[in-house]
């Protein structure tokens, strides 16, 4: 008996010794960092019959999402493990693999990202699992919206349950309070990734455009066929973005409220979570790409940002401001709409690499306003430029209130009843006199041109016979150069029979005068639109025009002091 116990003890100590040796061998790591003990853990998705519906109903889009997993994972891995590598590693090698092979034949199943982003998963497993948790939620929302068996009310209830379930993990869940752009773009490491890797960054934003954009056809389609056609069109548009990269890729982070407004309006919490998710993707890229963050500080910075994206207090803006911000950043800078897609491309208003704050500053007619308003939470404006704080300087508090909408305050239409058109001194066309708002003719025209540059607006105007007639009449009374530009934008049916000689003169002048760069940009854009969107050949002039940011509008500062618009009351920003 005694010898038996002795034998067991001997065997036990031998087994423990052997095991310890093996564990030490496995644990051996050439790292000087302090031991990181992470207890992050994964959780199963909410059960339901809707699960995997999107996969079954929209297999092409679903498979693309699997490929997207790879793009994020390999990006983080390379940024972290190859900080000194040539830019071509990501911009050419990985980009080409992804766009020419992976996206052409995407994986059939969601990927195990830990097997791709091995080092990244080890430096910040908490952040990785945060992403995984949000991606699960993302996919389940597609499943619910794709489920033809569910009524709209059932979809609403199920998505509400999904949100509740998502929030049961406060250690993983992105906040459903919108965060300001300051969190993404106002940090010491910000913008590094987009500036160093414009093509890959455009690809990631293309992913995000499709990921949020697909919600829109799922929401707006009235039948399965319409939804399928809408999803197919959005996927096709995403693939078009890959051509001649990064020209047609988004130039700023696509915001759900802009790309999928119907979805964002109905499910604002989910949309905010997705924006925070995508925003943190960018933040992690910046932290990893920016050499100012030392290697041994990457984890700490990622965790710090992750905590800010989870809490409900730091960098918070109101849902109204978030909606507003999405509109101000400009859909045309985010890759354009995800439904009602037209053959042409919207003309971005900013250059690649610029920030969302700059995009907001460039908002048509909104620049040049003095008196920065720090209340525009998180919309960090460069106060040094043009003495403008962009939108921050606007005081909408006195605008007449119209159609208040809690969910979408920014979308409330302006009340034009208070606007009076009056003949100007030249007696040609009217200068507009809104209550307390003066706009001269050129400003009106700038605005008109800008609106007509938007392919969606243009298309709608052209479809509406009354509006088309009104526009034709208006064009009759326009100065020659504006008339020419408008003619270029409109299909032949809306054009006048032949441009006047003065118009020709003005057109040639516009092509060379820096003052008329807006005009030449329009032309480049129009020419481009006339071509097939898949056409690869692009003239150098077009490329040049497209590569440059659209000029800031020359529209004089608007005086909004007497306008009142719901949702524009800006509460003070809370920051930690």
């Amino acid at each position: 008996m005694r010898s038996s116990k002795e034998m067991i003890r001997r065997e036990l100590s031998r087994a423990i010794g052997l095991f310890s040796t093996l564990v030490l061998a496995v644990a051996a790591q050439p790292s000087s960092a302090a031991a990181q003990w992470s207890k992050a853990y994964e959780q199963f998705y909410m059960p339901g019959d809707f699960n995997w519906t999107f996969r079954r109903t929209y297999p092409a889009a679903d498979r693309l999402f699997n490929a997207f997993d790879y793009g994020h994972a390999i990006l983080y891995e390379k940024l972290y493990t190859r900080p000194g590598a040539d830019v071509s590693l990501l911009e050419d090698k990985e980009y080409n693999f992804i766009t020419k092979k992976l996206l052409v034949s995407p994986p059939n199943l969601p990927l195990e990202e830990a097997a791709i982003e091995v080092a990244y998963a080890k430096i910040a497993p908490e952040a990785k699992i945060m992403f995984d948790w949000a991606h699960l939620f993302h996919r389940q929302v597609y499943d619910v919206l794709a489920d033809e068996k569910l009524s709209q009310a059932e979809k609403d209830a199920t998505i509400a349950r999904l949100i509740s379930y998502y929030k049961t993990r406060p250690d993983l869940a992105f906040s459903s309070s919108p965060k300001s752009m300051d969190l993404m773009e106002g940090q010491p490491y910000s913008l590094a990734f987009r500036n160093k890797y414009p093509k890959f960054n455009g690809l990631i934003w293309g992913y995000h455009w499709l990921q949020v954009g697909l919600y829109e056809p799922l929401m707006t389609g009235k039948t399965l066929e319409e939804r399928q056609a809408g999803v197919t069109a959005a996927v096709a548009r995403f693939r078009q973005m890959l051509e001649n990269a990064p020209e047609h890729m988004p130039r700023i982070m696509p915001m759900t409220a802009a790309v999928a407004p119907t979805f964002a309006k109905r499910y604002p919490e989910a949309a905010i979570i997705f924006d925070n998710l995508h925003s943190m993707h960018d933040v992690v890229s910046d932290i990893l790409a920016n050499p100012k963050v030392p290697h041994d500080r990457k984890r700490a910075e990622i965790l710090r940002a992750a905590a800010a994206y989870r809490d409900r207090t730091s960098y918070v803006i109101t849902p109204g401001e978030w909606m507003e911000m999405a509109q101000m950043m400009g859909l045309e800078n985010m890759g354009g709409p995800a439904v009602g897609i037209l053959p042409g491309w919207p003309t971005p208003t900013i250059a690649r690499g610029q920030s969302a704050a700059e995009a907001m500053k460039n908002m048509a007619g909104m620049s040049g306003v003095s008196g920065a308003n720090p209340k525009m939470a998180g919309m960090k404006m460069d106060s040094s430029s043009a003495g403008s704080a962009g939108m921050a300087g606007m005081d909408h508090s006195k605008m007449p209130e119209t159609s208040p909408s809690a969910a979408s305050p920014s979308s409330a239409p302006m009340n034009h009843a208070n606007m009076n058109m009056a003949k100007d001194s030249a007696g040609k066309s009217g200068s507009m006199n809104m209550t307390g708002m003066n706009m001269d003719q050129s400003a009106m025209m700038q605005m008109h041109m800008r609106m007509m540059k938007d392919p969606v607006i243009r298309e709608r105007v052209m479809r509406d016979t009354t509006m088309r007639r009104l526009m034709n009449e208006m064009m009759q009374s326009m100065p020659a150069d504006h008339e020419m530009n408008m003619s270029d934008m409109t299909p032949s049916g809306a054009r006048r029979s032949a441009p006047s000689s003065s118009a020709k003169k003005d057109r040639s002048r516009a092509a060379t005068s820096p003052k008329s760069r807006t005009t030449s940009m329009t032309k480049a854009s129009t020419t481009n639109k006339a071509k097939s969107p898949t056409a690869k050949g692009t003239s150098s002039a077009e490329k040049k025009a497209a590569a440059k940011p659209a000029p800031k509008p020359t529209m004089p500062p608007m005086d909004h002091s007497k306008m009142k618009m719901p949702g524009m009351e800006m509460p003070p920003v809370k920051k930690n």
């Binding site: 496995v26 207890k39 995997w52 969601p110 990927l111």
Partner: protein, 286 residues
């Protein structure tokens, strides 16, 4: 020779039938499983340090093992298991090992015990630490092919991932009498194939993942001391793969060889796993 060949065909047909039934059943379970998280015996003995996700059930319907010992003796093992992620990083599991053994002209089949286990993952792998896990098993003496006594096993696991390969090490110790004999004439305590009971077991595994193909290839090597007193240390090696066929179905298969000891043998394994959730057990899931 001809007789042996016929028996082999019968056993192979039986294995194929179980595989078919398990896949057929799998398509009717709406769930997802994960080829990346390895389990013991699926397809190799050495497993990783991670557990079933919180709130998930993982049903392993047909982990089959066919063993051919020297002399052409075939033994079968089938151990359906169900695991549940009951707490953060913690799973409980119940297994029902069935065995079919040949002893000359005698053929016995039956339950080889009832296996309860609890496994806890201590941490996620980080730059400085491997993932670590611990597990306790209790094999209760239930069934005609079960041992006379209960056995408790304690296992430690570690997982380390590099750019190319993952490493796992396991160490296990089993407490219980060393002179117990299995019921039903089974040659090994706890059943010949369903459960390998050892006084101790130490080993390592490597695996290589092909994430774009949802495929993992693995191999292991371990030393174990059979629980019977006086037995010699045995060395076993195995290799296999895990493959995610769809979000609802993962397959694994392997082959191995016990290299020495009283009963050197080849073995084949096959398994499927499905994960699912029960809504009423979820927070906010009602």
């Amino acid at each position: 020779m001809k007789q042996n060949s016929g028996r082999f065909s019968r056993h192979l047909t039986g294995a194929g039938l179980i595989v078919f039934l398990s896949i057929w059943g799998a398509t009717r379970v709406a769930a997802q499983t994960d080829f990346y998280n390895t389990d013991r015996g699926r397809p190799v003995q050495i497993e990783d340090a991670y557990v079933t996700e919180r709130h998930a059930f993982e049903l392993k319907l047909a982990p089959v093992r066919l063993e051919r010992s020297n002399g052409g003796i075939y033994n079968w093992g089938l151990e359906p298991e169900i695991a549940y992620g009951i707490l953060p990083r913690t799973q409980i599991e119940v297994g029902l090992p069935f065995a079919y053994v040949e002893l000359g002209q005698r053929r016995n089949a039956g339950l080889a015990g009832l296996d309860f286990s609890i496994m806890h993952n201590l941490n996620v792998e980080t730059e400085t630490l491997p993932a670590l896990g611990v597990r306790a098993d209790l094999l209760a003496p239930v069934g005609s092919l079960a041992a006379e006594h209960a056995f408790a096993s304690f296992t430690g696991m570690a997982t380390r991932t590099t750019q190319w390969i993952r490493f796992h090490v396991n160490g296990q110790y089993t407490a219980g009498p060393g002179n117990a004999r299995p019921a039903g004439g089974a040659p090994r305590i706890g059943g010949p194939a369903a459960i390998e009971l050892s006084r101790w077991l130490v080993g390592g595994a490597i695996d290589k993942t092909y994430p774009l193909s949802a495929l993992l290839i693995t191999a292991d090597f371990y030393a174990s001391k059979p629980i019977e007193a006086g037995s010699r240390v045995e060395y076993t090696t195995g290799t296999g793969f895990r493959y995610q066929r769809s979000p609802t179905l993962a397959l694994d298969a392997g082959v191995g060889r016990r290299l020495n000891g009283d009963n050197p043998a080849w073995f084949l394994t096959f398994g499927t796993a499905y994960a699912f959730g029960i809504r009423s057990l979820f927070p906010f899931g009602r």
